[in-house]
């Protein structure tokens, strides 16, 4: 395996980790105004992701940094090309991040409502835009011979992109609801369980729609063939099983399933794209690939050694931190830090 492929895989892993982990953060954030009926319940909801959200967000920052280091042309074309979308994503992340810290610092219900709204909007906006972005990566973009994206902002909001965005929101909502069933205080968890069934149905419809649409809008048939392989089918199977486990009120298994939905879907996305990183609809020869968009071999080698040492360490302490906070929360305001 060459270093370019290795780094393609590593960046995929970083994006997958981000989607799995911030997926439930965004889901919880979007559910906040609906599942939290009083102030304490809302605080409980926020506190379920309180210890984790910042460490989860770093997966995105690392993915961006790794893209910059390993594939500078991909980083340059994508980040400058998706300028307005990224600006909005940043606004969403900024509002959400500050809101977590500021929200409960003042007793005034208007202050708290304002920041709850910021968490909701920030989470929704982020989830939607990330889905739109990845759908567009799948579909391809107008990119010219000088690796410049020529499409503009509104191009990204094509129907396929929007369906991708909505499907992402739906899956994250389900993922977040199941997370709350596991972690939140009893009343909130109960409400989360009750709503999971409906969220699952919506997620299934949108996921199916996205799948069908993908066959129409992208060259996935050409690339993966009539039989797309185990992974995409497993993604759908995991989503069906998630519904089954939600019904059975087996929240742990349900959460494992929604996690797999996200993992397998993204593996499919990256497998489909390989070795391209940005598909050009203008001319396939102008697509960015892991070869024409990459850093020198020396940089890839240095980065590989650094990653080899530090990724396992990071995984170790992140997993440990989840273990520290594995217990379900109780609705006792004095014990809530946020």
């Amino acid at each position: 395996m060459d270093l370019n492929t290795l780094w393609f895989i590593l960046i995929a892993v970083l994006y997958i980790g981000f989607f799995v982990l911030e997926g439930f953060d965004f889901g919880v954030g979007m559910l906040l105004p609906f599942l939290g009926r009083d102030d304490t319940q809302r605080r409980v909801i926020i506190n379920t992701i309180g210890p984790h959200w910042d460490g989860n967000e770093v997966w995105l920052i690392t993915a961006g940094g790794a893209t910059f280091a390993a594939f500078p042309h991909w980083y340059a074309t994508m980040f400058s090309g998706f300028y307005q979308a990224l600006f909005l994503l940043l606004v969403g992340l900024i509002l959400r991040g500050v809101a977590f810290e500021f929200r409960s610092k003042i007793e005034d219900p208007r202050w708290r409502k304002l920041w709850d709204w910021a968490i909701f909007t920030g989470s929704l906006l982020s989830a939607l835009l990330l889905g739109v972005a990845f759908a567009n990566l799948m579909r391809g973009l107008p990119i010219d011979a000088s690796m410049t994206y020529t499409g503009g902002f509104w191009y990204l909001l094509n129907p396929y992109g929007l369906v991708g965005g909505l499907a992402t929101v739906a899956v994250f909502l389900l993922h977040g609801a199941i997370f709350l069933s596991l972690k939140a205080s009893d009343e909130v968890a109960g409400r989360a369980q009750a709503v999971s069934g409906r969220l699952w149905a919506v997620a299934l419809v949108l996921f199916a729609a996205l799948t069908v649409y993908t066959y129409l809008e992208t060259d996935i048939l050409l690339v993966l063939g009539v039989n797309p392989g185990v992974v995409p089918i497993a993604a759908l199977a995991a989503l069906l099983l998630a519904g089954y486990f939600v019904r059975r009120v087996s929240d742990g298994w349900a959460f494992a399933m929604t996690t797999l939905v996200i993992v397998f879907t993204l593996v499919t996305v990256f497998t489909f794209m390989y070795p391209r990183v940005m598909i050009s609809t203008t001319n396939p020869d102008w697509s960015l690939t892991i070869y024409n968009a990459s850093s020198s071999e020396y940089t890839l080698r240095v980065m590989s050694i650094v990653a080899l040492i530090f990724v396992p360490i990071m995984l170790g302490y992140q997993i440990w931190s989840y273990r520290v906070f594995r217990k379900r929360l109780t609705a006792e305001p004095e014990k809530l830090e946020y």
Partner: protein, 464 residues
């Protein structure tokens, strides 16, 4: 408006906002970790209360540092795509490493620290905040390695075929001579910011005669560490300036408004210049002092702006190699002026805490409250000086700023995002300062003091 100018304004604005919050994070994480360590070692409850009080202020500030930082990582790609293409090999690596090593560490363990009081042993919990402090300061190291490359490109080669710079020596990159002068200076500035933050808020409470034991202990830790920090900041700054005289003489010349080379070179106390004509209108200079500062002796040529301009035109081709002199000159003065004022105050603070009956006058205490802002002035001015003084270069001698900007982002889009960021940041900064002020003024939660007030020597002297 010109797209390049807007892009530069946006980068300046977002970076200044970010570096408004970061130094306090860098320094306060360390000071809070020290307080918690004292608590773990001695078991004295007051240190736990100090950890929680200063820790709460730390957290309010930390959130702003994080969110303003994400913007910067994205902004290289968004607004400076040509820069990213050109130096991505070399610049991208420290950024990625910063995230992988430092951001993961500080974010994960901060979550553990905030929420883990009842879930971890005292030692483990204290270790968590130390890891946050280490994470924060290590992230400063890696971003400064990246910036050092911009100031002094090392460990690379220019690939004629691809038209890009490529890394050839990772160790040369991370042991860039510039990092040795830049990193300590920055990290110690963070410690200084945190120390004066604590001293100022403590002084406020001395004025109100509340929780005096609590704040006396806080003030003491801050005064000792702050004095050491500001002293080393100035020393480090001096080394950095001497280094800059070698690698970026134009920045030094601009910082001094030294139009023509001088030997021995004079130091400007005050210069009012004509920007159009690029000469002095009025100047008070100390003869020989600049040579002394640069070469540790009263002679030695310091190159002037016009001579360097001629040199660079010969070396790099026609163009304007003179950075904005007024901005470079005044930001340098502001930074150094604030720095020396802080040194004087630190000495006063140290003098005040030593001995059995430390006393400050009421005016002295008010001075400490106002001095909270001085490090912020110095931090901002310092970055302005070092970045603006490097103009027109994005990477010194290698890539000009005008060649670094994203060609596809229109000035309309830039105006929108610039205004957007400034507005949102402004609102959030308002909320942040509001919260910090509220919680700083409120003091530690229970408001209890261990020793009865009348038995405790007041830091407010009789004349107060």
């Amino acid at each position: 408006m010109d797209a390049l100018l807007l892009a530069r304004l946006q980068f300046a604005a977002t970076t200044i906002y970010h570096f408004f919050f970061v130094p306090l994070t860098l320094g306060l994480s360390v000071l809070v970790a020290i307080m918690e360590t004292v608590y773990v070692r001695t078991g004295q409850e007051v240190y736990k209360r100090m950890t929680k009080f200063w820790g709460k202020l730390f957290l309010i500030n930390f959130a702003m540092g994080v969110v303003t930082g994400i913007v910067l990582e994205f902004q290289f790609g968004m607004n400076w795509s040509e820069y990213s293409r050109f130096v991505g090999d070399i610049f991208g690596a420290p950024l990625a490493i910063e995230a992988l090593l430092a951001f993961f560490l500080e974010s994960t363990f901060l979550g553990v620290w905030i929420f883990g009081w009842d879930k971890l042993s005292k030692g483990m919990h204290a270790a968590a905040i130390w890891l946050v402090a280490i994470g924060a300061n290590v992230s400063a190291l890696w971003i400064l390695i990246a910036n050092s490359f911009m100031q002094q490109p090392v460990g690379f080669t220019f690939n004629e075929v691809t038209g890009r710079a490529e890394m050839t020596d990772f160790f040369a990159l991370i042991f860039n001579p510039n990092i040795w002068v830049q990193f300590p200076h920055t990290v110690l500035a963070g410690l200084t910011t945190a120390a004066f933050f604590i001293m100022g808020i403590s002084a406020y409470h001395f004025l109100k005669k509340r929780n005096e034991d609590f704040f006396r202990r806080s003030f003491q830790i801050a005064a000792i560490l702050g004095t050491i920090a500001i002293f080393l900041v100035i020393l480090g700054g001096h080394s950095q300036a001497q280094h800059l005289a070698e690698i970026q003489p134009m920045k030094v010349a601009a910082g001094e408004a030294l139009w023509y080379s001088e030997d021995p070179a004079s130091f400007s106390l005050l210069t009012i210049g004509d920007l159009e004509q690029r000469n002095d209108v009025f100047s008070i200079r100390v003869p020989g002092l600049l040579s002394l500062m640069t070469y540790n002796q009263l002679q030695g040529e310091v190159k002037g702006i016009y001579d360097l301009q001629a040199e660079y035109e010969a070396q790099y081709g026609p163009g304007d190699y003179i950075p904005p002199v007024a901005l470079t000159y005044w930001s340098f003065r502001a930074m150094v002026g604030a720095g020396f004022a802080l040194l004087a105050l630190a000495a006063y603070a140290l003098f005040g805490v030593m001995g059995d009956m430390p006393k400050f006058s009421q005016r002295g205490l008010k001075l400490f409250v106002w001095a909270i802002g001085l490090p912020y002035l110095a931090n901002t001015a310092g970055w302005l000086m070092t970045e603006v003084g490097r103009m027109p270069w994005a990477v010194y001698g290698l890539l000009k700023v005008e060649d670094a900007v994203s060609p596809t982002v229109s000035s309309g889009t830039l105006l929108f995002s610039l205004i957007g960021f400034v507005l949102i940041y402004g609102l959030l900064m308002g909320a942040d300062i509001f919260l910090l002020t509220k919680y700083a003024k409120a003091g530690p939660d229970d408001g209890k003091d261990e020793i009865a007030p009348e038995m405790e020597p007041s830091l407010l002297g009789e004349q107060g």
